[in-house]
């Protein structure tokens, strides 16, 4: 065997450490004998073990041990503060976003590793669309209560006066009378957004050699209006016995925008298009060099280059333009310009080159045994943005299992060259078309596209019709007189604005303005047990123009704040510990023969994935973490009671006497639940189950033309909104807390009761975004994230086992502790009976069959606030009913491997029969997937 230099050094380190440890043990024993006091270990021994750990990093295959196999689940909540809109209260809630990230890392083969990531985020709330001078009075309240109402405020044709010398807006009394002085205040135009969900899945394959690695990755991100596909390739090269590491990589992304513009904004945008369809491509290259400077310091430098091309604008952002119409200056008091407003969609360059330099320095601080992290980043692009980021973090271990890390971050950027809060242009928004010989050109207002042109001719000898605008006789293109019936319809022909008089590119997105941001946060990490860690994070962020380095930042109207809260659970597969270590063959045999404990483990192995509260933990102090995913789909035709209903019957009978205008077509629900269980004693298990839910619903219009004509204009718009968009909601759902109590635990039979409470942490009054200048009100009942009430959740579970058979039955119920929630309605109580049987097909795989009967009451009460009912799904009585389902499940575990404490279960619930309350959409089924790990 050839011993390399690295291995020689490692063996020498081992030998030295062992010798040092032996010397210390001998010395300790001598001291013990002398003092007859217990000395457990010397204080410096861990340092020696650290040295061994470090030296072991040199060995092939162990370098990534610190980032070993495992699973991470992270929840992130983002919440913005209120935007300042001239002291008015916006009736939109600020933007909120909930993000779920799961990451799993596996070793597929000796040197091949796989990382799988899944991320979904759901956001909703108000966001700035454009910016305007306060003098436009677009964002002033129409209501006495001071609440800014109609949306959005891009109305064209608003007038204001600008100072001729400076183009600064002049103050008026709101009725066109100058009051003296300037009014430089700016204000955002806010627009609400219905909830939207984005999903991203990606994977990374890594192949490791002794001193290098290759990464190949790819993935896709999908949201309603934006889809992207990406791939990456990277390499790692270790030098100088891994003291220096070079990483290089590249990535490519192709994205497609398909953005349907806001109904409300369309009439107010000069260059409106209903749907923006375009694409972009991004290429990124990066290289980083990491170097161990000494035994307590590390430095990393990273350079990156990015090139983006295609549609780089934000389809939802507009720019207010003040038009100085040369022909309208008769309205302007002396020394002023008279302007009329309009709004254009923003125009950004179709390419962007970006470069960045990152420096990170980590220094061990011996005094407190902490790590100080310092970071600096310089960014520059060809849009004119230059940015500096400074970061500092102090990572302080506290004892063996805690770590606290406070941090601060400062960011400052200069504005993009084409950023302007609003534009001023010296032209008319709709310049008149003038014939050089015959003057203003007119067209028939009822048929402007018919190609016929008309003119005034004051010299006409035998006039017929007269232009009502000018009083002159009207002629057609041949000079013949036209009748008065046509002359009355004439309107001046205008053309479009001259783009050459505008900047080539423009955006008033304040993210492209000059500003600074300061944020401070803390991360708290707790090792819970063998290879399990919980991490909590908080950050408060303040964006302000005044914080820009060197001054000159944007004014205070664009300032905002946000808070970030995060929680992450990490479970390491490869960590050393009693649960994760591969047991020896003898241990395996002992385990197999150990009837009691094994039977207990297997007893709940048979409970199908869809059964909640199905088992207690068997020993005091045991902890279990689990993840449960449920997908439910309703689609197909409509049903009433137990019979299928035609669309015509559903339309006639589904909406409390009135004909329905809309019928539901499909509804999907995804739920991600985290299960945390702990047994304080062997007869009691406590559970906490936070969850993230998202739903989407597709509707179709069934209104006749006559019904649509009878509908008020605003509701007509809302109707169109319903049938042209798939509605989405998402965010944190209700959180269940339960205690499971062991009632009987025999050789074959087992009985336990559950007493649970569901806390109303989910939103019960999610609103649709405003549309057609009306408050669209609450979304559909079935799309709300929580019940809005505290609910009592009792359950009783029996399980049994004989040889390879397991069976069980469960009763559970949900009792609402209040009739109505704050929004005015109350979900119906529910109960469910389940019975199942399962058979161990092999020692690691179990198959199950389950019969489920469920009952749920209809919704009590109704929304108190604004709510427009269009279809059967909007009627409280059309909810709940009796259901019979058949469940087919599989459960897998891998005893005798490193994954022996893990269990994966899967179940499909197929609807068999139902007796639904009222008229409802048919059910397609439900998929339950659960993974659990006890330790």
């Amino acid at each position: 065997m050839v011993v390399t230099d690295a291995q020689h050094r490692f063996l020498r380190a081992v030998a030295q450490c062992v010798a040092r440890l032996l010397r210390r043990v001998r010395a300790a024993r001598a001291r013990e004998r002398r003092a007859r006091a217990a000395v457990t270990r010397t204080r410096r021994a861990p340092a020696c073990l650290d040295a061994l750990t470090g030296a072991a990093l040199l060995l092939p295959g162990l370098a990534g041990a610190a980032e070993g196999d495992g699973v991470d689940v992270q929840l992130l909540h983002y919440r913005e503060g209120e935007r300042a809109i001239l002291g008015l209260e916006s009736r939109y809630d600020p933007i909120e976003a909930d993000t779920l990230t799961t990451r799993a890392r596996f070793t597929l083969a000796d040197r091949l590793r796989l990382r799988l990531d899944y991320t979904q985020d759901t956001w909703s709330g108000a966001t700035p669309v454009a910016t305007a001078p306060a003098e436009l009075r677009g964002n002033f309240s129409n209501d006495l209560d001071g609440i800014s109402n109609a949306s959005p405020y891009l109305q064209p044709g608003r007038t204001t006066y600008l100072d001729i010398a400076t183009l600064r807006p002049l103050a008026t009394d709101g009725y066109g009378n100058l009051t003296g002085g300037f009014d430089d205040r700016l204000v955002h135009t806010l627009s609400g957004a219905s909830p939207e969900t984005r999903r991203q899945a990606d994977l990374l394959l890594t192949y490791e050699w002794d001193e290098s690695a290759l990464d190949v990755g790819g993935g896709t991100s999908r949201e309603r209006d934006y889809e992207s596909v990406f791939g990456s390739l990277g390499g790692r090269f270790d030098f100088d016995q891994k003291r220096t590491t070079l990483r290089v990589g590249g990535s490519f992304t192709r994205s497609e925008t398909q953005a349907r513009l806001d109904h409300d904004a369309l009439p107010y945008l000069y260059d409106a298009v209903e749907v923006v369809r375009d694409e972009r491509r991004d290429v990124g290259l990066h290289a980083s060099l990491s170097r161990e400077l000494n035994r307590g310091a590390r430095l990393e430098a990273n350079v990156g280059f990015g090139h983006a091309s295609g549609y780089l604008a934000n389809p939802y952002k507009a720019v207010q333009v003040l038009f100085i119409d040369p022909d309208a200056q008769a309205f302007a008091p002396p020394g002023t310009y008279y302007t009329v407003s309009n709004a254009l969609r923003e125009r950004r360059p179709r390419s962007r080159e970006q470069g960045s330099l990152d420096l990170r320095y980590v220094q061990h601080v011996a005094a407190t045994d902490a790590a100080l992290h310092l970071g600096y980043r310089y960014f520059r692009d060809d849009w004119g943005i230059g940015a500096h980021t400074f970061e500092a973090e102090w990572v302080q271990p506290l004892g063996r299992s805690w770590r606290i890390a406070p941090r601060v971050r400062f960011y400052s950027q200069s504005a993009a060259d084409f950023y302007a809060p609003y534009l001023v242009t010296r032209q008319a928004p709709f310049p008149p078309v003038v014939d050089p010989l015959r003057g203003q050109v007119y067209v028939n207002a009822n048929s402007p596209e018919d190609g016929l042109r008309y003119f005034d001719d004051p010299t006409l000898a035998n006039p017929d019709g007269y232009n009502p605008n000018t009083g002159d006789p009207v002629v057609d293109e041949n000079g013949d007189p036209v009748p008065q019936s046509i002359a009355d319809l004439l309107t001046p022909l205008t053309t479009r604005l001259d783009p050459n008089k505008l900047p080539a590119k423009y955006s008033s997105d304040h993210r492209l303005s000059g500003y600074g941001a300061i944020s401070a946060g803390v991360t708290l990490t707790r090792e819970l047990g063998d290879g399990v860690a919980l991490e909590l994070g908080y950050e408060h962020y303040t964006h302000a123009g005044a914080l820009k380095l060197g001054g000159g930042g944007e004014k205070g109207f664009a300032d905002f704040r946000f808070d970030l809260l995060s929680a992450r659970l990490n479970v390491a597969f490869g960590a050393s510990g009693r649960v994760f270590a591969t047991p020896s063959a003898a241990e395996d045999e002992a385990h197999a023969q150990h009837e009691g404990h094994a039977a207990e483990r297997h007893a709940h192995a048979g409970a199908p994935a869809g059964v909640m509260f199905d088992h207690l933990l068997s020993t005091q102090g045991e902890v279990m973490v689990g993840y449960r995913y449920t997908f439910a789909r309703r689609a197909g035709g409509m049903r009433q009671g137990s019979r299928a209903l035609s669309a015509a019957s559903a339309k006639a009978e589904g909406c409390a006497g009135a004909p329905c205008l809309i019928l539901p077509e499909a509804m999907d629900m995804h739920m991600h639940m985290l299960e945390l269980m702990w047994a304080p004693t062997d007869w009691l298990t406590l559970m906490v189950m936070p969850q993230l839910t998202d739903m989407s619903m597709r509707l179709r219009g069934v209104a006749t033309d006559a019904e649509l004509i009878a509908l008020p204009h605003e509701l007509n718009g809302l109707y169109q909104h319903h049938i042209s968009h798939e509605h989405e909601t998402g965010g944190f759902g209700d959180t269940s807390v339960a205690a499971l109590v062991r009632l009987f635990d025999g050789e074959r039979h087992h009985l336990h009761a559950g007493l649970g409470v569901s806390a109303p942490t989910g939103e019960e009054n999610v609103q649709l975004r405003d549309t057609h200048a009306i408050d669209a009100g609450a979304t559909h009942y079935g799309m709300q994230l929580g019940s809005g009430t505290w609910d009592f959740e009792p359950s009783l579970t029996y399980t049994g086992r004989a040889e390879r058979f397991t069976w069980g039955a469960q009763w559970n119920a949900t009792v609402r502790l209040r009739d109505h929630n704050a929004a005015g309605y109350g979900l119906g109580d529910a109960t469910q009976l389940s019975a199942w049987g399962a058979y161990d097909v092999t020692h690691w795989l179990t198959g199950s069959l389950r019969v489920v009967y469920g009952w749920q009451g209809s919704i009590r009460g109704a929304y108190r606030g604004t709510f427009y009912a269009f279809g059967p799904h909007d009627e409280p009585r059309n909810h709940g009913g009796q259901l019979w389902d058949l469940g087919i499940g599989l459960s897998a575990a891998l005893p005798g491997t490193a994954f022996k404490a893990h269990r994966v279960r899967l179940e499909w619930l197929q609807p068999i029969a139902e007796d639904l309350n009222g008229t409802q959409l048919d059910r397609k089924g439900e998929l339950a997937l659960s993974w659990s790990l006890s330790f």
Binding site: R9, L49, D50, A51, G54, A55, L58, L76, T101, W123, T127, A193, Q200, G217, T220, S221, D225, Y226, S228, S251, T253, T257, A259, D282, G284, H286, S290, L293, R295, R298, L299, V303, G304, G306, N314, S356, L359, Y361, V362, H364, A371, H373, Y376, Y378, F379, A387, V395, Q396, P397, R403, A405, Y411, Q413, A416, L512, E535, G537, F562, L564, R568
Partner: protein, 73 residues
């Protein structure tokens, strides 16, 4: 940043690097192997924060193009 300032930063960096280039022996790397001494001790949280910064700041990822969505809101 001007070229002069950039050169200054690079010079300072080089100085730090060189003065600190004491050779780290394998058995002296215990401290460096600790989780808090990793360049990024909480990578998943950092990625999530970076995603928020990218959707709220003008200086986007530059070298990384690995999804993240539109960030249009």
């Amino acid at each position: 940043m001007s070229a002069v300032r950039l050169r200054g930063v690079l010079a300072a960096l080089a100085a730090i690097t060189c003065t600190s280039c004491a050779s780290v022996e394998p058995w002296e790397r215990g401290t460096l192997a600790r989780p808090e001494m990793a360049v990024d001790p909480s990578p998943l949280q950092s990625e999530a924060r970076a995603h928020v910064y990218e959707s709220r700041e003008g200086a986007s990822g530059a070298a990384t193009s690995d999804g993240g969505g539109c960030g249009c809101y």
